[in-house]
């Protein structure tokens, strides 16, 4: 447990997330060296350098409890890196992150699913990865399969599942983690029209019940609809932070000025759900 992460389970604390001066640097080796052999060779040749790429620089912000907080910015501005640092997947070079409450990162669904195990076993495995205790899961077991509409398939091995069934099971389990803070990378495009509606409703329900949501997206309409406060990132630095309406205007201005052939505005990337 890194000393930089203070997980103070204090429900009365006003701030859900406090990010202070966080910077993240990726090392990009000039030559990819992945073996002892290559490293020894590199030292002999006098070539052991890597280039630094600062994905985030001195990012500083606070998310209040119960707030739905948007993060926008062009591609490569550091949004996903920021989200991964909040999720503790990446370790910041400096700065500190304080998370108050139980965190559920919806960066990807179905992390740790084992195709060789049955749906039943996978729910317990995945649940424990998300921090759910067996006792809690027992109580929610029926609800999970009901929400996923997969009751008939509970004893089927996961490798026989279609991709839609797979994500439905994952999402249904993930929402049972009962988090205080939700990290969302794009609105999850899960399953068919009917199931997507259920997902959006569930997220909306989370929002209304006073949970904190950090929402990273290219979909400006969704950000406007969901978030009161928004953070604008560009080139790894905070450009602006404030009321969503103003920030979106600023973002459009920024994109307009630096209009490049990447077509920043048009590339609302659809979050691909990986099957690992």
């Amino acid at each position: 447990m890194g000393p930089l992460f203070k997980n103070r389970d204090k429900q009365d604390c006003k701030d859900a997330i406090v990010v202070k001066d966080v910077s993240k640097c990726f090392r990009i080796p000039r030559e990819k060296k992945r073996t002892v052999y290559e490293n020894v060779l590199g030292i002999i040749k006098g070539n052991f350098g890597y280039e630094e790429f600062w994905a985030l620089r001195d990012v500083d912000f606070t998310v209040k409890r119960g707030e739905t907080f948007g993060v926008i910015g062009p591609n490569g501005s550091g949004k996903s890196t920021l989200l991964k640092i909040l999720a503790r997947v990446l370790y910041p070079e400096n700065g500190s992150v304080a998370i108050n409450g139980r965190l559920a990162p919806f960066l990807e669904l179905g992390v740790g699913f084992q195709p060789e195990l049955t749906a039943h076993d996978n729910v317990y495995l995945y649940g424990s990865i998300l921090g759910l205790m067996r006792k809690e899961l027992n109580g929610k077991y029926e609800e999970i399969f009901e929400f996923a509409e997969l009751k008939r398939f509970e004893n089927v091995k996961l490798r026989n599942f279609s991709s839609g069934m797979y994500v439905r099971l994952a999402f249904s389990t993930a929402i049972q983690a009962d988090p205080d803070i939700l990290l969302l990378d794009e609105i999850l495009a899960v399953g068919d029209e009917h199931f997507q509606k259920k997902c959006t409703d569930k997220i909306e329900e989370f929002r209304r019940s006073g949970k904190t949501i950090v929402f990273v997206s290219h979909d400006l309409d969704a950000v406007k609809k969901l978030c009161r406060k928004t953070l604008l990132l560009n080139g790894g630095e905070v450009v602006a932070l404030g009321e969503t309406g103003e920030i979106v205007e600023e973002y459009l201005g920024l994109v307009g000025n630096t209009k490049n052939d990447r077509g920043v505005k048009g590339t609302a990337k659809i979050k691909k759900l990986a099957y690992t």
Binding site: M1, G2, F26, R27, R34, T35, V36, Y37, N39, K84, A87, R88, V89, L90, Y91, P105, L107, E108, V111, G112, Q114, E116, L117, D121, Y124, L125, S128, I129, L130, G131, M133, R134, A274, T276
Partner: protein
């Protein structure tokens, strides 16, 4: 110990690992018992003429060596992949990463326990008998487990950065097989080298296993203290190396 909060996750990872390892079939498990027995027979045929006279109950002597060596070599070898093989659990979500290594070593511990069970009937059949000292088996096994866990922390985290470590470790394991008293008696080692020879923690543990199973004696307190020192060393160094290297796992995996 904060890992206690993750006991259910560790349990689930161990169970799913064992389920996949034994592929839901009894044959998978039977095979893992047959393997050391066949190795015992082969080594007995090869070495019995050489050492039979110097070592009593050479068959059992061999089997204890093989079983303990299997625990060490199989677990350390598979732990190299512990982090890399669970890429998605490293890159997509946060859990304390040492859980991945720990659950792999625990699954190896359970396999080893089951393998040692074949020893019990053989002890009776071959006339060695069962001594009360056998009750110390879980203690010795636990100490061995902790040493292996510490070493596995180092190996699994280094492997993320150095992907040819499995080749290097494979050679080290082959060498180690002959550096431990598995196929020859300890007395074969010249007296002036004994002190150095006993610096190998695996040898120490092997001697303890043979004490409790074969000669029915309780290992001395000094032996336990030496092994405990090894345990402390491997756990401390293992955790230091691992926590330092774990910071960039998500980028390097």
């Amino acid at each position: 110990m904060y890992l206690w909060d993750y006991r259910e996750l560790i349990g689930n990872l161990v169970v799913s690992d064992l389920k996949i390892k034994y592929a839901d079939s009894m044959l998978g498990f039977a095979w893992s018992l047959l393997n050391p027995l066949m190795m015992m027979v082969i080594l007995y045929l090869v070495f019995s003429n050489v050492y039979k006279s110097t070592q009593e109950n050479f068959v059992i002597y061999l089997l204890i060596g093989i079983l303990s060596w299997r625990f060490f070599s199989l677990v350390t070898t598979s732990s190299l992949e512990a982090i890399v093989a669970k890429e998605s659990l490293v890159k997509k979500i946060y859990i304390p990463r040492e859980i991945l290594t720990l659950s792999m070593v625990i699954s190896g511990l359970i396999s080893s326990f089951l393998e040692f069970l074949v020893l019990i009937p053989l002890l009776v059949v071959l006339g060695v008998g069962i001594y009360p000292a056998i009750l110390l088996f879980p203690v010795v096994q636990l100490l061995f487990f902790l040493i292996i866990y510490g070493l596995s922390l180092i190996l699994s985290s280094l492997y993320v950065y150095f992907r040819d470590l499995n080749q290097i470790w494979g050679v080290a394991i082959q060498l180690g097989f002959f550096l431990c008293p598995i196929v020859y008696p300890l007395s074969l080692v010249p007296a002036q080298y004994q002190a150095y020879y006993l610096l190998n923690p695996v040898t120490r543990i092997m001697v303890m296993y043979r004490d409790i199973f074969l000669s029915g004696t309780v290992p001395g307190l000094s032996d336990f203290l030496v092994v405990l020192a090894f345990v402390a060393f491997f756990l401390i160094v293992g955790n230091l190396v691992f926590s330092r290297l774990a910071r960039r796992f998500a980028e390097e995996v």
